[in-house]
Each structure stands twice: as C-alpha cells, then as structure tokens.
Assembly symmetry: C3
Homo-oligomer: 337 residues x 3
C-alpha cells in the first residue's frame, strides 16, 4: 500500500513491510506520547471522529493521538444524527461529513459500513471497528505490543509462541491477530477455549497453510507452559442468546498469580484486549496479577496511542516533519510512566 | 446591521448589503476550507456549541468552521444538562453559559428560544435552528450556493429562475430562502408541491408584493423546464400526524437523470437542503444523479463551512486579519475536492 | 499539600495557605478569562474530561478553563462506555484512561469513586463531583466569590457573617462551604431551613468546635438582617422520596427585591450555587433581583473559571509561565463583562 491518503479499513490490506513501517513510526512517536516532547506538526488539521456506535476508549485514544500531533478533533457519538433515520444513504452521509475534516476515524455497528463510507469519502478514513468485521488499529497495537514486550526478552516475531485463551469464536481481536501473524515465520499458536467457543476453522487452516503450527486445547495450565505470550480474552456475553449460556463459559479459564508462577516460563507476557471482566464469576485475569511486571495490558492501551499516531502521520504524510515541530514540555509530568 | 458583536438570529435582520458582505467574506474563506492555506486568526478563542437539540451536521459544520479559523470548540448536545429540568430559566442558562466562550452557536427545539437566550447572553449568539422558526446560516449557504453555481453559468441573482419542489409547507429552508430572495430583483419562483403542502400564503404574497413572479404547480416536469435552479426538498414526515399521511406525499416528485435530461435546460443546477430520503418509496433526488456535475448538493454543505467561517470572522471582527495569520498546509490533502 | 502532580479530591485536603495560594493564582487568571489577554502556556497539553454523570456547566467550565490556558480537551459524557457494564473495575478504567491525557477532571455518581479512580490514575485527577460526597472546585469558587465580593465592601473572610438558606440537609455546596469556612477566624453562620432540612449536626458542631458562631432559624427576614452574604439554595427535589414531599419545602424561603430592601443591610451580597429554580412555586431568588448589582450568582460561575484555571496551573506547575506565554486578544470582545 501507499500510505499518504490511504484508507485503513482492514488488516488484510497490509503486507509485512507496511506493518514494519507502521511500527517504526510508532516507535518514533513514543517521546511525544510519553511527554518528553511536544509536536505541533498537525496544527490546523481536523480529525472527524464519527462513532456511530459508542466506544469511549477507542474514541478517546484516536482523539488524544491526534491532539498529540497538534490537530483538532470534532466528534460525533451515537446516532444522534437523525439523518440516517430520515432515509439518508451512507453515501450521502460520507460525502457531507468528509467535507468537515482532513481525516476520519469511524466506528459503526454494521459490518462493511466503514468501507462503504470510505468509498464515498473525500478524505482518508480509518476503521475504528465495523461490527464483528474489522478493527485494524486494535490488531496493530496488539502485534506492536507483542513485538515490544518480547524484544526486551531477546525474542522476535519470528518463531513467536503465543497462547490465545477464552472466547476465540466471537473475539474479533484474536481473529485479526491471527491474520496479522501469518505475515511472519514459524509462529506457534496454542488456542485454548471451550469446545463451543473454538477459533473459526478457516482462520486455523489459514495459519497452517502459511506454515504455522496451531494446537487446540481446552486445558489452560498445560497450554501456557511454553509460550512467550498469553493473550487472554473476555467471554463476549453480548453475543450469546442468553445470559445463562454466557455463564456456562465465564470464569472457565482463569489466570492468576499462583497459576502463572507454577506453570509459565519466567517473564511470560500477559495480554488482554480489555475490558477484562473483574466480576466474581469471570476474572479471566485475576487482580492479583496487577503487580506482576509482565502484565502488559495497560502498556497495550498506551501502545494504541503510538500506533494511532503513526497511522495519522503516515496517512497525512507528516512522518518526516514530526520532529521538526518538536519542543520541550513545559508542564509537570512527573512520575507518569 | 453592524457585524462585530452582533447576534445572528434571523435572516430578517439582513439587508442586501449585509448578505453581499457575508458572501464576499465567504469567498475569501475558500482557500482555508479547501486546505490551500491554514490560518490561526482565532487561536485562543472559544466557540460554545450549545445544541440542545441534536443535529450532527450543523453542529460539526459550525465546529469545523471555527477550528479552521484557529479557535477551540466546547460542545453540549441534547438536554444532558438537567438544569433546565430543575426549573432554571433560559435567562440564567444564557448568563452562565455565555461566560464560558467568546461566541455561541445554538440550536434549540423551541421557536424563539435562541433569541431569548441571546438577549441574556454576554457574547454573540448564532441561531443554528430554533424549531420551525429560523436557521439563518442554512438560508445563507443556500443563497451563496445559488450565486456561486449560476455565476459559472453566466447568470446572477437578479432575474434568477428557481423551482422549489416538494414539501413547501413544512420545509423551513424554502421559507427562509424565499425571504432572502426578496432582497434581489425580478426573481421568478416556481413552487411545485402537492396541494396540501403548498408554500404558506403570506410568503407567496410577500414575494409578489416585492415585485417577484411566483407560479404554483403540482406538475414536476413542466415546472423545471426553464429554471436555473431546481431546489428539491424531503417530505418532513416528522411533522405529519401519521406515517400514513406522510406516505401520501413521499415519492410524489422524483427527479432522476432521465427526467433531467428530457426536461431541464442544460446545466440546470440541482440543490437540496439534505438529508435527501434515499429509501425506495421516497427518492426525491435519485441516486443516478450522483454523477451529474450539476448536482450541487454536496457543494451546498461545503459552502456551509465558508458561510459559517464568514459569520464568525465578521462577528468577531477578524476579517482583515485572517490572511495575516496564514501559512501553508504541511500535510497530505491530495485529491480532496 | 504540594500542588504539582496532586489530585484534588476533597476540600479536607486544603489548609488555609493552600486556599490562599489558589485564590492568589485565580486572581492572576482574571485578565485571561476576561479576554484582556490570551495565554498558550498549556499548548499541547490534554485534559481528559470524564463525566460519567452529566453536568453541562461543570464540564464546560473545566473544559473552557483548560482551553483558556491553551490546552486541548477530550471528553466523555455518561456511561456511553459499556466497559464498566462489561465488568471492568474502576482500577482498570483509570489505568487505561489516564494514559490518554495530562490531567483528568472527573464526575461520577458514586461517592468515593473519584478517589478510587485517582488511586489508580497515572495523572492528576480533579474531583468534579462524586455523588453527594465532594465537589471541591465548587466550594472553592464559592469562597473565592465571597472573598472577592466583600473585599470591595471593605470586609474580609475573618469575622465573615453569612446566612445559608434553604435545603441545608441535602445541599452539597453548603456542607463544603462550612468546612472551608472553618479555616478562617470568627465566622458567624446563620442557618435558615425548614426543620426537616437542617444542616447535619456534625457540620454545625465542627464549626462551633473551631470557634465559630452558628445560629439556626426557620425565619428568613430576621436571619438575613445583619450578614455580609445571603447564600440561597434550591430544594434538592431529586433527593426526596416523592414530588409531594419536595413540594412541602419548595418556595418556603423566597428572597425578592422587596424583602431585600426592607431587611438586608445595604450591599448585602446574594449568592446561589445554581441552578436556581425559577418555576412559580419555587423562586428561592426572585427574577426581580436580576438588576440588583449585589446579585453575585453569575459572578460565581465566572469565578469558577478562574478557580479551575488556577487548579490546572498549580497542578501542572505552570503558574510562573502563564504570563510569559501571553499575547493580546485580536478579536472583538466589546461589552462582554
């Protein structure tokens, strides 16, 4: 792909070189996100943040990332706009709203809607989630986090060993992550789920067809014994027909400090797309892991800022100008990270 | 009127010289809206965007226009504020909220509410729609679009020929547009509607009393044969007592490419206040017009940015300073317009 | 307390020197809030405005105060975020959201929630109201207003005479104000309420134990005869079990211009935390006071901007830099204050 002006709709649009380019730019964004420096490279630019379905953290993460580059944000949340209710086509909505900003981050409950919007948009559109379909910046921040975490442990994305745990059937993030992992070599994936919530067969087959090793299991302890990453997920209870059905699976695979100590290799990284379910009957990642330095779940969300800054910088073609607009931070930032 | 510090409440407050001044300033805003240049003339100023009734595109348009001039935007949408529910008067609300910004754009469901608010406000207020009463920036952008479109066709607002089609009874925009047209000379207006949805009599009489020609018809094809502009409108179904009643009129006047080709003069301009109703049984402007270069509906919404920028620049008295704060755009804007 | 990096959770955390420091900084903010000057000292900083319970004026006041210092604002209103509904702990929410901004202003319906959030936050948090518990910036702006108003009348916070009128049982603001007044000497407080809505006993006792004089009464006229300040409050009807019960007390103590003229000392200051209830059967402060120059209720809300600017400047340690980033205002501000 050619970044300047591109839409970011699906992880399928990326080749390995694209991913590596995004990650290199994300690395360069860290001093700004961590408040060592300020840049105003996008001073005067406007992000249209169009969240037709609410998602606070994705919305705020996109907005803050744009602010960190110096730009302004105009937001919409929910279908407050009755235009669609009045029979307006997504084509018209896109033509109108794309006149108000330089780039758009959009979430919408319907699969394929963001791509349809993008086709009519006059400015680049980033998919912030279209139903159960795609959420490419989430997949990128997951892979970026894996890369960052294991790099400090002397490992790389080649020959990565990862266990994915929980609701692998409905979890959009693990599907996308599997697709991204295919771009690398010799990955070993252990899929841990209840029988009813197994990873869709075509994703497993695609991984195997591209030379990766996939194991499936319904036993947590044995499955996390020899991996670099444990990627835990929440039971997507909103996808089940009843609360009772979801409750069959909630709390089935719980990782806590005791299990971690007895079963994982030292420094095994723990990830989760968040939110984690901290209610008594769920707790897929116990609170007693909060002091474990290998718990990377909050570094994941921090990395989301870096990846989103990188996407904006690439799409708007200002990567080489970011540092030129840099200056020192003049306010208190002590003890932040 | 004297612009600096003025409220913008009604199109009735404008004389022809005011309208021409607004349009001249709007023209000067185009390079900024089209991203040829950036200006920071309002850097440090705050717009209070008080949308007590949701309207995504009007809200975002005002906000983006203010951002394009360099200012910040603080927004409220809906009656999230329970202060009014707690018995607060509009006077108090206005006194409080007007302390938080330099200028206010306000929408409210009640007729006359914005004027009442403005009377107590300590900063200038722009009416972004008060019920079925007024929405002056919409009327101005419509007239500005007419002027721009026909200028390239060698025509002017004097002796303008325009057909207004659809729900002329409840459509606020066509009422306002008629009032604005009275400021010019020798306009010919063809009003096309079902009998039950005719333009209110006093508006028709006002036009005639100021020397303009008004024809009324319930036949589309003949009515659009000799005009510069076809201004189509949606059936305002939310104003009818039942869906069944609205359905009597929906889809009654449909313009599509075939009718356009066979009945309109070449380069007749097609306008619509949007949203257009693209559902099967409505389609007052068919999607097959989307590739017709005379379809000006999206240029209309783009012009809304110019007109709103002009209003802000005039009210805050920075017209002469806009260019002094200009600089080049440093990010990718390719293929935008 | 040491300000840079501090959370602002409760007025109990302040000593008198802290309050005086905040007020001195608030004084210095006036030229910026009143648009005599612009400062960009926080250009590049981000405020996370997390209003899990809506409150338009508090939210907009915090946001505008941050804008006036040059910073950006990212907002959330309501529980649009379903993460908490999905079982996320406040700890996780805080860890995630605090990565998106430099400082957070937060409102939440649950008592103690903001402190719990702050304990996990990586950036300073200001409590914008946590249920019936605390709303420290409101208490500070009330006291700041008292100080400003009586200073021009040759009086000071020592030996202050104040009447608090109305719903003293449920009104959070009067509770907090009493706690702040304990930091000063020889204050005389007259508490005017229906028997059922008296000030909680421990607050009265605390005032007396720290050497202040407290009188309680259910008669308005006599109670406001010899005070510097009449602080009126609304009946918090949402706290009563029924509308009927609230109606027993609404309209019980009404101050109007006639009563003011006949009973108050000249230049007695009238305050109210707003919203005031202007419905027929309430009117604790009659509209006929609107032209009384001693009605300070809108100066109160204006002062809220100064106090919030001061809190941001102190927490982010930029007090000494504000003036260095100052420049003239270039837009129309005529007749604003």
């Amino acid at each position: 792909m050619q970044f300047p002006g591109s839409h970011i709709l699906s992880i399928q649009q990326f080749e390995r070189a694209d991913v590596e380019r995004i990650f290199a730019v994300a690395d360069a964004m860290a001093p700004y996100a961590q408040r060592e420096k300020v840049t105003r490279v996008l001073d005067g630019a406007i992000l249209g943040s169009m969240f037709f379905e609410p998602s606070t953290r994705t919305r705020v993460s996109f907005g803050s990332a744009f602010n960190l580059l110096g730009g302004e944000v105009r937001e919409t949340t929910g279908f407050e706009n009755s235009a669609i209710a009045k029979g307006e086509s997504l084509y018209d909505t896109a033509r109108v709203l794309s006149g108000y900003s330089d780039v758009i981050a959009m979430r919408h409950p319907a699969e394929g809607s963001v791509a349809e919007f993008a086709a009519a948009s006059r400015v680049p559109v980033i998919n912030g989630g279209d139903g159960s379909n795609e959420h490419p910046s989430q997949a990128l921040l997951d892979l970026y986090t894996i890369r960052s975490e294991i790099a400090t442990r002397g490992r790389g994305l080649e020959q990565l060993r990862i266990a994915m745990v929980g609701d692998l059937r409905y979890g959009r993030t693990v599907h996308s992550l599997c697709k991204l992992l295919r771009l690398f070599q010799g990955v070993q994936v252990v899929l841990v789920s209840p029988e009813a919530l197994r990873m869709p067969g075509e994703i497993v087959e695609d991984l195997r067809a591209t030379g990766h090793e996939v194991l499936e299991s319904d036993q947590l302890e044995a499955s996390i014994a020899h991996v670099d990453i444990v990627y835990s997920t929440r039971i997507q209870e909103e996808r089940f027909s009843s609360q009772e059905e979801a409750d069959l699976y909630r709390g089935r695979f719980r990782l806590n400090q005791n299990i971690y100590t007895h079963h994982c290799e030292p420094n095994t990284v723990i990830m989760h797309p968040l939110p984690r379910d901290s209610r008594e009957n769920a707790r897929e990642l116990d609170d007693d892991l909060n002091d474990n330095p290998n718990l990377a779940i909050f570094r994941q969300t921090d990395n989301g800022m870096l990846v989103r800054m990188a996407l904006f910088a690439l799409i708007l073609d200002v990567v080489d100008q970011v540092d030129r607009h840099a200056r020192a931070v003049s306010w208190y930032t002590g003890g932040r990270f």
